[in-house]
Each structure stands twice: as C-alpha cells, then as structure tokens.
C-alpha cells in the first residue's frame, strides 16, 4: 500500500486560498472550519515589511499525537489507506482531546458558534444526524472515516480526500491532476492549486515525483521537533511557523 504524502512548494504558492475553498466545498465544511487553510504572517514595517503565508492541511502524521490521545480509538491512522488519519464518527465521543493534542490545529468540532452569521446550520438545518444539510452537499459519505457532513458532537478533519484518493489505480506513484485519467482521484486542494504548488504521491515509492521533489528541493516538515513526523512536506523559503507574538494594539 502506498503511503500518501503531500508536498507544498512555498516558492510557487500565491496564498490565494483556492485550496481552502475547494476543500470546504468538496467536504462541505462550515465557514472557518477549514480542514485546509492558508495562514498569513507578518514581520517588519513599511517600507521593508515581509508578508508570508503557509498553506496548512492536516499533516497526516506518522506519529499522530491525536491518535495517541483518543480514548475510544475513534481517531486512527489507517496504514491500509495510505497512512491517512481518520476519525470514526460512530465512535467519537466529542471529548476534543485530539484538538488539544494536535500541534497543527487541524481538527474541528464545528458544533460551535458560527464564525459567519447567520448560522449556516440554521439556514440549512441538519437532517438525519447531519450537523447541517446544505442543498449542494457532495454524494460521498463514510462516517467510519469521517467523510461526508459531520454529525453533531464529533470532531472532523482533513481526510486527504480519501473518497477520491482511494479510487486511484493501485501502485500509482503520483496523483497528478494534469493527467486526465487521474484528476478525479486527486485531493481537492491539490487538484485546484492554480500555480501547482501542491503535489501528491506515494512516499513509499522512491521513484515518485513527491520523493524527488523532497530530495531535490530539501523538503522540510513543520514543527518537526514535536516528533509527529508529518506526511506533508514543504519546499522553498518560509517553511516554518513563526513564534506567536502579540500585536501592537495601541
């Protein structure tokens, strides 16, 4: 079985958020519950200020701290599915310990006050266990892997678009959206990325393009010191997370 990995080239990324909206529509997440997001950071001052951005999916860690803390094994790493970390919505008790334990902040409870009002959960009330039921929801659903619209009281997260990726022919080294035969199997964020800053492929296959990119362009993993060992690699300048600092408020 492949070990799916993502490579994000920050020298090409334009910070546009297409990955974010593609993900939110593909996976029907609520506004702000961004399984995939692009985070902006600033430093310095006019006329020499820098602004940078960092796209952030779930890192699908090799040593996922979220999996370790889950008391019910609702969240699990599925090596049979390429090492994707899933949440079984039939088992999740909504204790949110995984949200505490994830160093990357990529887990979402969603059963929260809305970021954008009026609440979409009220505009499109949930039917049949769904937290909300928009008219445009995708046809895919697999609660045992946290795919579909989440029910109340559980945590959700990026699935590397398992419902797409899992349909790819076995042994495919790279899921390249430019290949018309493969595009439907490519995770939404990778498929849509206009500057092609994202790549998706098999980390276990030394011939895969993702491994070549990681090798040639000195790929790094974010917050490597946590020991979580992400399956997402970053290339290019700015592949770090600036320390939190307070902003000037007056």
């Amino acid at each position: 079985m492949a070990k799916w990995g993502m490579v994000i080239d920050l020298d090409k990324c334009t910070g546009c958020q297409a990955c974010t909206t593609a993900c939110s529509m593909e996976n029907n997440t609520l506004p702000g519950e961004n399984w995939q997001d692009v985070l902006y950071y600033h430093e310095g001052e006019y006329p020499s200020a820098q602004m940078k951005w960092l796209p952030r999916p779930c890192m699908q860690c090799e040593e996922p701290s979220c999996v370790h803390v889950c008391p019910t094994r609702a969240t699990y790493k599925d090596d049979e599915a390429g090492g994707i970390v899933f949440i079984d919505w039939n088992k999740c008790i909504g204790c949110k310990y995984c949200m505490i334990a994830c160093p990357y902040g990529v887990r979402f409870y969603a059963d929260e006050q809305p970021l954008v009002e009026p609440d979409l959960k009220a505009a499109f009330p949930g039917e049949d266990g769904q937290l909300w039921s928009p008219p445009y929801q995708g046809p895919q659903e697999d609660w045992s892997r946290g795919i579909g619209i989440q029910p109340k009281g559980v945590v959700s997260k990026c699935t590397f678009c398992h419902h797409k990726v899992s349909q790819a022919p076995a042994g495919t080294p790279d899921l390249d959206e430019d290949d018309p035969d493969l595009k439907e199997y490519v995770p939404a964020c990778v498929r849509t990325c206009p500057p092609k800053a994202r790549y998706f492929g098999d980390l276990d296959n030394p011939e895969s393009n993702v491994n070549k990119l990681i090798g040639n362009k000195r790929g790094v993993r974010l917050k490597d010191e946590t020991g979580n060992r992400p399956q997402v690699y970053y290339l290019g300048a700015g592949a770090n997370i600036p320390a939190f600092q307070r902003r000037q408020r007056s």
């Binding site: 702000g32 997001d37 701290s65 019910t72 094994r73 008790i93 505490i100 902040g105 997370i241």
Partner: protein, 399 residues
C-alpha cells in the same frame, strides 16, 4: 447517640429543596440551550476547545481526589485523630466526583457512546482512557469503602486493603488526570512531568476546604454541636494541616508562575504575563483565595476560630476554582498555528450555559450532601476512639 447534625432537620430539608431547585434549573437551562443550539451554546471554539465545564470537572475531580487522600490519613496511615472526618471525606469524595462527572457528561459530544466506546476501544495509549478506567475504579473503591464504614467495619484486614486500594486508586486517578495535561508536549503551558504532584497538593487543599465547609455546615456552623473528637480535630490538627496545604499550594503556584514568567517560550510566558496575570479575577483569586486564607490560618489564634475556618474554606473554593479555570484555559489561549486568523491571544469567557453547568454541578453536590447527611451518620468513627464516649458540648442546648 445524640446527633446535632442540622442537615437531618428542617434546615437540611430547606437546603435540599433549594439546591435541588438550583440543580434542576441549571440542568434545565443548559439542556434547553444545548437542545436548541448544540454546543454552540458554549463559548468554546477551535482555539479554546476546553472551557469552564472542563475546568469545573477538573476542580471537582481534584477536590474529590483530595478528599480521598485526606481519608487515607486515618484509614491508611492510621492517624487516629482524623477518624472523625474519615467517613465524611469518603462520602464527599464520592458525591463531588459524581457531580464532576455529571458536568463532564453534559460537556461531551456523545456521553452515552463513551460508555461502550471506551471499553471497546481499549486505547491504552490514551490518558483519557485511563481517566475513565481509574475514576471508575476510584468511584468503586469509594463506594465499597463507604459501604464498609456503614457496616462499621473500620479495622478489618479487608477494609484496610480496600482503603489502600482506594488510596492508590485516588493517586492514580488524579495523577493520571494531571498527565492528561502534563504529557501534552505541544502545549508547553501544561507540559510538566511533575504536574501530578501539583495536582495532588492542590487537590488536597481543595478537598480540605470542602471538608471544613461541609463539616461545619452539618452542624450549622456551630462547632459546639460537633462530637468532641471531631471538635478537637477541628480545633487542633486539621487547621494546621489546612494551612500547611495552602502554603504548599501557594508555593507551587509561585514556582509555576516564576518558571513561566522566566521562560522565553510565548506559549508559557505570555500565558502568565498577558493572560493570567493580566486578569483581575486571577489576582483576586490568588491573593484573596489562596494567600489570604493562608495568612489567616497562619495565626494560631485565628485559625482555631470556626468563622475563620469556614471563611477560609469558602475563599479557597473560589481561589482554587479560578486556579483550575486559568490552568485549563491558559493552556489554550496562545493560538497554535493560526496566522492572522487569530489576531491575538484568544478571548474566552464562559457562556451562560457553561455557567449553568457549573452551578448545576455545585448544586448537585449540595443535594447529594444533604441526602447523605440525612441518610447516613457521616460523623461516625470507630467506637474505640475518644469521641465515641464523650458527649458533644452543645448537646443540651439543642436537644
């Protein structure tokens, strides 16, 4: 045996009705809001996922553990002077833990699912799993122990073994509870291998405050009505232990604070400098709820006075409740990896629903407490202790 326990009378019934009303109202209000809005009735979000219901649970669970540990003083370590509070300790530990769990049950996304998912999951890597196991055991041992006491079995080998098991259970449960936070290396404010010690000590302080308060409450805040041995304890060893515990608690908080303020890491430093110490509530709680009672009880003349003791217990309630709150929330207020979306330190204040759960839990303690005082003789102690023979001083006045 003469019993001056006012909880057995109409005062107790009044308190029972009152606390029952508060409990039902708290539960009803929370349940109504949560039915209407789901967990959106809480002010928690992706940054601060654990809010006041969790800190309330933590507060209660640690108070319970503290009471369990206090009970071990006579029951395991055979400091016979403490026999008069042993049974009340065990009972209070039980009901406070139950109340804490009730609050937690209202906080979880799927409480009933937990009942089967936890044992079936057998996720031994998770401290949360062990919390379930150990607190279930803790409850079990407390219940068993209490049942033994009800049977007036204070000294048999079995009861001693249950006591030791219960003591170990409490240590493991609360120690593990500490590790739920203390093992989170991605949350530097919490990450601390010595956190169990901190939880034990502050938990005992919390339990001690509960013990003092509820013991006095049982006798209408009139120490004269207490059985002699109990009275002696309340005049002698117990306040000394109370002040010692408060001193150690204060010391521990200071150590954490100094370490935190010294550290460069913003996830620790800024939590202390810009969140905890920036909060007037925290200052009131720390100086008024921990240091002040410590100083009051330090005085040999003041610490024996019932009013001072009760006042200190109440102050410590507030002080340690805030301590738990700032501990839980403080570990989350520095946004992890959110860029500009989190413009500054996260803002969290409990919603009315979250407050109602805290009130529900507190009221539940009173309800169960009054019921316990009415149904059981919580001041009971082995016959061979001095208290068994003597008459309470104020018995004549109230008989």
């Amino acid at each position: 045996m003469t019993d001056n326990n006012v909880m057995k009378g109409s005062a107790g019934t009044g308190l029972l009705v009152l606390s029952l009303l508060v409990m039902v109202a708290g539960f009803g209000y929370a349940a109504m809001n949560m039915a209407a809005h789901g967990h959106a009735a809480f002010n928690t979000d992706a940054n601060v996922a654990w809010g006041q219901p969790i800190s309330t649970y933590l507060y209660f669970a640690l108070a319970s553990s503290g009471l369990g540990l206090l009970a071990a003083v006579p029951l395991v370590f055979k400091v016979k002077e403490y026999y008069p509070v042993a049974k009340r300790c065990i009972f209070l530990a039980f009901i406070i833990l139950i109340s804490g769990m009730a609050v937690l049950a209202m906080e979880l996304g799927h409480t009933f699912r937990m009942i089967w998912a936890l044992p079936f999951g057998m996720q031994v890597q998770s401290a949360m799993f062990w919390m379930g196991v150990l607190y279930a055991l803790d409850l079990l041992f407390l219940l068993w122990k209490f049942q033994r006491m009800e049977g007036r079995d204070w000294d048999s080998k079995t009861t001693l073994q249950i006591g030791i098991a219960s003591f170990l259970g409490v240590l493991l449960a609360s120690g593990n509870l500490a590790l739920i936070f203390g093992m989170m290396s991605m949350r530097p404010f919490w990450f601390d291998p010595s956190l169990p010690i901190y939880f034990y000590l502050t938990g005992i302080a919390s339990g001690m405050a509960a013990l003092v308060f509820y013991t006095y409450l049982a006798y209408g805040f009139d120490r004269g009505k207490m059985p002699a041995a109990l009275r002696q304890l309340m005049e002698g060893g117990l306040p000394k232990l109370f002040v010692t515990l408060l001193g150690i608690t204060f010391l521990f908080i200071m150590v954490r604070m100094i370490t935190g303020l010294y550290a460069n890491a913003p996830e620790i430093n800024l939590v202390w400098s810009d969140y905890i110490l920036a909060s007037p509530v925290y200052h009131i709680s720390l100086w008024g709820g921990i240091l002040l009672p410590f100083l009051l009880l330090l005085s040999p003349t003041l610490r024996v006075q019932p009013a001072v003791q009760v006042a200190c217990a109440v102050l410590v309630f507030g002080g340690l409740f805030a301590e738990r709150y700032f501990f839980v929330v403080g570990g989350q207020v520095i946004p992890l990896f959110k860029g500009t979306w989190a413009w500054d330190i996260s803002q969290y204040a409990p919603s009315a629903t979250e407050w109602s759960l805290t009130f529900m839990g507190a009221a539940m303690i009173f309800v169960l407490y009054v019921l316990g005082e009415k149904m059981f003789n919580l001041s009971d102690s082995p016959a061979d202790t001095p208290s068994g023979a003597s008459q309470p001083a104020g018995a004549k006045a109230t008989a």
